[in-house]
Symmetry: C2
Subunit: 156 residues, 2 copies
């Protein structure tokens, strides 16, 4: 079941971010910070919205999105992550669809996904292309030398 998470889901969200193994320490801390702001201020003020897929008390995956400043109804999907033990069950696809629906309800017009061009993100790229996203831009060496920024977009 995909729901809006509450404070008690925070520890599992953190664990999933660590367990995916694609995120480095700074990225893990970034997710933690967005989660703290979400808890402290709520989504409207913080600009960070979270959704989780839960099976009983277990969090299988989460998504985080929010409006991009200075744009007219453009939203970023900041993070989407699924616990490695829950892969291949459609959790990521469900979270992505639920995030799109939620952004549509907020009035969103365009959804932007920024991701790494590293080979370890190859499955992620295929996933976005398979779910209707367009690979619209690449910024060479953006994250670090040899690690490009790859931007996917979808008009909602």
């Amino acid at each position: 079941m995909i729901i809006v998470p509450s404070e008690k889901d925070g520890a599992q969200i953190h664990s999933i971010t660590v367990n995916t193994t694609v995120f480095n320490q700074e990225e893990v801390e970034c997710v933690d910070e967005l989660w703290e702001e979400y808890l402290a201020q709520g989504p409207e003020i913080s600009g960070y919205y979270f959704l989780v897929e839960k099976e009983d008390d277990r969090v299988l995956g989460y998504a985080c999105y929010g409006p991009r400043a200075l744009t007219d109804r453009t939203y970023d999907l900041y993070w989407i992550a699924v616990d490695p033990s829950a892969r291949r069950g459609g959790v990521g696809r469900g979270l992505l669809a639920a995030s799109e629906e939620a952004v549509r309800k907020l009035g969103g017009r365009l959804l932007v996904l920024e991701t790494s061009g590293l080979p370890s993100y190859g499955q992620t790229h295929k996933f976005y292309l398979a779910t209707g996203y367009t690979l619209e831009a690449t910024l060479k060496d953006f994250y670090r030398d040899g690690d490009d920024l790859v931007i996917f977009t979808k008009h909602l």
Copy 2:
């Protein structure tokens, strides 16, 4: 003379942002917010560095830049603006060169400029291309329908 600004330069920085006429109300407020954070926390904590070109007590233009989160030494040039009455005197070019030099001194590797694709930014695009930037990506309708995001980069 290009210097690091102090609190008393804030009013003129605000006026220049308004006077350029290319920035909308939300963008003017965004510059004001970055300036407030810069004053309150300093550049290292806030992540916003400012430079101004001054002639006696008059601010002719300013630049604002800072590190991009989650990257290895990639910096954003957030804003660069010159008072309309001081145009064509090389103020913008001087501020851009001084910003690049300052970012180099901070260890910066890559400088990223995000700007609008609207015709009113045509001169800005020419200016960046003439100063060694590469137009590396365009995100269609990013700011709003008909208003693309255009990204320039320069390896430092």
